[in-house]
């Protein structure tokens, strides 16, 4: 039997399709909203944070290399692209999300001590996963942008290169795809400044034991850039220099500390039992301050001006500046006149003269590298004389022994005569610095010593202006020790610290 159907079947199909279409449109709209929110909350926010982590990781890598310039100068910036004072790291990819970082380091400044300061510009990139077509969540209000002002995502082009150039200096602008192409990504950039840590931040710093100075001895301080030393200032709170008179700090990295005399400053030990009742200390006593001192290596000499003569100090030896185009070369902190001294006889007398131009002495920078000892017995009396305007650094690999009166620093500024004891490569070798009294009760010297592997001994009661970093410290006399606070930025870098952080938010 044939059945005749009515014509309503077509309308039902259309109605069904329309319903599906409407529901699909609603669903698509909901999905689009959800995906946008998900993209922002999950992918974009995460990548924005991760890109900073990547940039800071690049900064850490650079900082580790910068520290090598002190601890391991022969391997500093190995594997980087080096061009003069500029060093470019290889690109490093790391982490589960394949973060990418790279850094450019440049020695952009040399301070008055000749130490380079480093600027590290690091960039970190994180790829954004998810649907790039949904874009960013800028829905905030009429005419107002939301996330795109903060999180600058490179979808199809690298906005930084397009707007500011690859180095951010406006040079070389170009429309280029992001490095993560075809995926969008976020790149953040930071700049960190690493400053040298100089060795003389305290009057006495001993990595091992400490004994001294003497029952009537004292350690105080002053700041020579403000005025000359005055023994009365430390007891006169109304004096404007009083703030600088009580910084004769002593730092000891063990519990073995026998503290005699008076310390006008702080006292730190590592596990000691010193109290205000057992020691005369004007400042803070903290018995829980560990620290470490790295062995000292001979620094890189590539920027120094090597001078062939003299090669030894025998008898009376005078070093005059070399002549360059008929003029004496005074040198600079970063490029001193540099002499290799193969031996320094026990009773040698060294005089280092400044460069004199048109009758005027110039600030003259001289560095000596002495192989072996400078005086090696109690009968040794080597003499070192540094006139005003001369800034002398002496590196030596052996021991140092002389009388306090034989260290003659005419300027009185301790920073103008610096001794550096290169650590023995064999740790069983015992390195010593022994200064005997001589020349009466007022005899003394102005100098600084950085000898992280040496035992330092002072016999007698000299009057000392300066600072010492050593392994074990022993003094048995009533020494009057004046730490010059100006020394806290003096000396060769023994480490680096990051002193500035800024993000390039463009």
């Amino acid at each position: 039997m044939q059945v005749k159907h009515s014509g309503e079947e077509g309308n039902a199909l259309i109605c069904a399709l329309c319903t599906i279409l409407i529901i699909s449109l609603i669903g698509a709209n909901v999905l689009r909203n959800c995906t946008t929110r998900f993209n922002v909350s999950s992918s974009q926010v995460r990548s924005w944070k991760e890109s900073l982590f990547a940039a800071e990781a690049g900064g850490d890598i650079a900082y580790a290399e910068i520290r090598k310039s002190v601890s391991d100068p022969t391997h500093v910036f190995n594997g980087w692209t080096n061009s003069g004072a500029k060093h470019t790291s290889p690109v490093t990819t790391f982490g589960a999300n394949n973060l990418v970082t790279s850094t450019v380091v440049d020695a952009f400044y040399t301070d008055s001590s000749g130490n380079p300061w480093f600027r590290a510009r690091s960039r970190g990139t994180a790829v954004i996963r998810g649907l790039s077509q949904v874009g960013m969540d800028d829905r905030m209000g009429a005419g107002a942008r939301g996330d795109s002002l903060l999180r600058k995502i490179d979808f199809n082009t690298d906005h930084f290169v397009a707007t500011y150039g690859p180095n951010g200096d406006g040079i070389g602008k170009a429309l280029v795809p992001p490095s993560s192409s075809p995926y969008p990504s976020i790149t953040r950039r930071i700049e960190q400044i690493s400053a040298p840590i100089t060795p003389f931040e305290a009057a006495i710093k001993a990595a091992g034991t400490f004994y001294g100075l003497g029952s009537a001895a004292y350690i105080d301080s002053f700041r020579s850039s403000v005025g000359p030393y005055d023994p009365n200032v430390k007891n006169n709170p109304s004096d404007p220099r009083y703030i600088d008179a009580r910084s004769g700090t002593v730092e000891i990295n063990t519990s073995l500390a026998t503290v005699l005399g008076s310390i006008f400053g702080n006292l730190y030990t590592n596990g000691g039992t010193v109290t205000k009742k057992t020691a005369s200390v004007s400042g803070v006593i903290d018995n829980n301050v560990p620290f470490s001192i790295n062995p000292l290596e001979m620094p890189a000499t590539t920027t120094w001006n090597y001078v062939a003569n003299p090669t030894a100090v025998t008898g009376n030896t005078t070093i005059d500046p070399p002549l360059v185009n008929g003029q004496p070369r005074a040198g600079t902190p970063g490029s001193p006149n540099y002499y290799l001294i193969s031996y320094f006889v026990n009773n040698g007398n060294l005089l280092v003269n400044p460069a004199v131009i048109n009758g005027t002495p110039q600030d003259t920078y001289v560095t000596l590298a002495v192989t072996g000892d400078i005086g090696n017995s109690t009968s040794s009396q080597p003499t070192i004389t540094v006139p005003a305007n001369v800034h002398l650094k002496i590196y030596f690999t052996g021991n140092f022994q002389t009388k306090a009166e034989n260290i003659i620093n005419t300027s009185g500024y301790a920073g103008n005569l610096q001794f550096y004891a290169i650590s023995p490569t064999d740790p069983s070798v015992h390195q010593t610095i022994n200064l005997n009294s001589g020349g009466g009760s007022n005899a003394g010297f102005s100098a600084v010593f950085y000898a992280p592997s040496a035992d330092f001994t002072i016999n007698g009661a000299p009057d000392i202006t300066g600072a010492i970093v050593c392994k074990n410290f022993y003094a048995n006399g009533n020494v009057h020790w004046h730490y010059d606070r100006r020394l806290d930025t003096e000396g060769v870098a023994v480490d680096y610290r990051i002193v500035s952080y800024v993000e390039d938010i463009r």
């Binding site: 044939q2 929110r37 969540d137 905030m140 200096d169 002193v499 800024v502 390039d504 463009r506």
Partner: protein
């Protein structure tokens, strides 16, 4: 065979019509009610997440500025945050830009100053000041007088920041809440359930 016609049985009875109308009304009503409810729910969720995203945006803005900042101070009501940041980029009108207009928009070279509390690295003679504040339903970020609305919501976004000073550094703790438009059984959703927390430390040594 002759086709059978049923013309006499095509019409609906009144009872059938009434039943159909009733059923249709119920279905239509249910559809409208549920779709309205769905729409409200969707709108509420969408608004919730939109506001949540703005919470995150505020936190990220603050964290970025605190990390690169030199000092952070908060007002007594904890709703205004002032951050001093290095003036890293040369702006039009800066001395360097006056001397060489091509330098506008480029990074500034740092200078070093020795102070009794240690060395300071400075970008330019003066630093920038960034202020976060609330203005009506908007959260504003003002840098050297330039105002940017970083968040705006009718959900009553309320950020609160405290800064804690340590020996050499400082950290800022921020909590941000808003009032959702959800209701459940006539009870308004609680503000505390929306709190987002953040803690950011200065990367620089604190000044002041």
């Amino acid at each position: 065979m002759k086709l059978k016609t049923t013309t006499s049985r095509l019409a609906f009875t009144l009872a059938e019509t009434m039943i159909a109308l009733s059923a249709s009304s119920v279905l239509l009503g249910a559809t409208l009610t549920s779709s309205t409810a769905l729409q409200k729910s969707f709108n509420a969720i969408d608004t919730y997440f939109a506001t949540h995203m703005q919470q995150i945006r505020i936190v990220d803005y603050l964290s970025r500025d605190v990390k690169r900042g030199l000092v952070v101070t908060t007002s007594a009501d904890l709703q205004t945050v002032t951050i001093t940041v290095p003036n890293y980029i040369i702006q039009a009108g800066d001395p360097e830009a006056v001397a060489n207009p091509d330098l506008v928009g480029t990074p500034r070279n740092p200078t070093m100053t020795y102070t009794p509390s240690g060395v300071q690295v400075n970008y330019g003679a003066a630093n920038s000041t960034v202020v976060y504040s609330i203005n009506g339903v908007s959260i504003l970020r003002t840098e050297n007088g330039n105002v940017t609305t970083i968040a705006s919501s009718t959900d009553q976004l309320v950020p609160q920041t405290t800064d804690v000073e340590l020996a050499n550094t400082e950290y800022a703790k921020t909590s941000i809440t808003f009032q959702p438009i959800f209701t459940s059984g006539g009870t308004t959703a609680e503000r505390t359930g929306t709190t987002v927390y953040s803690t950011a430390y200065l990367r620089n040594k604190r000044r002041g």
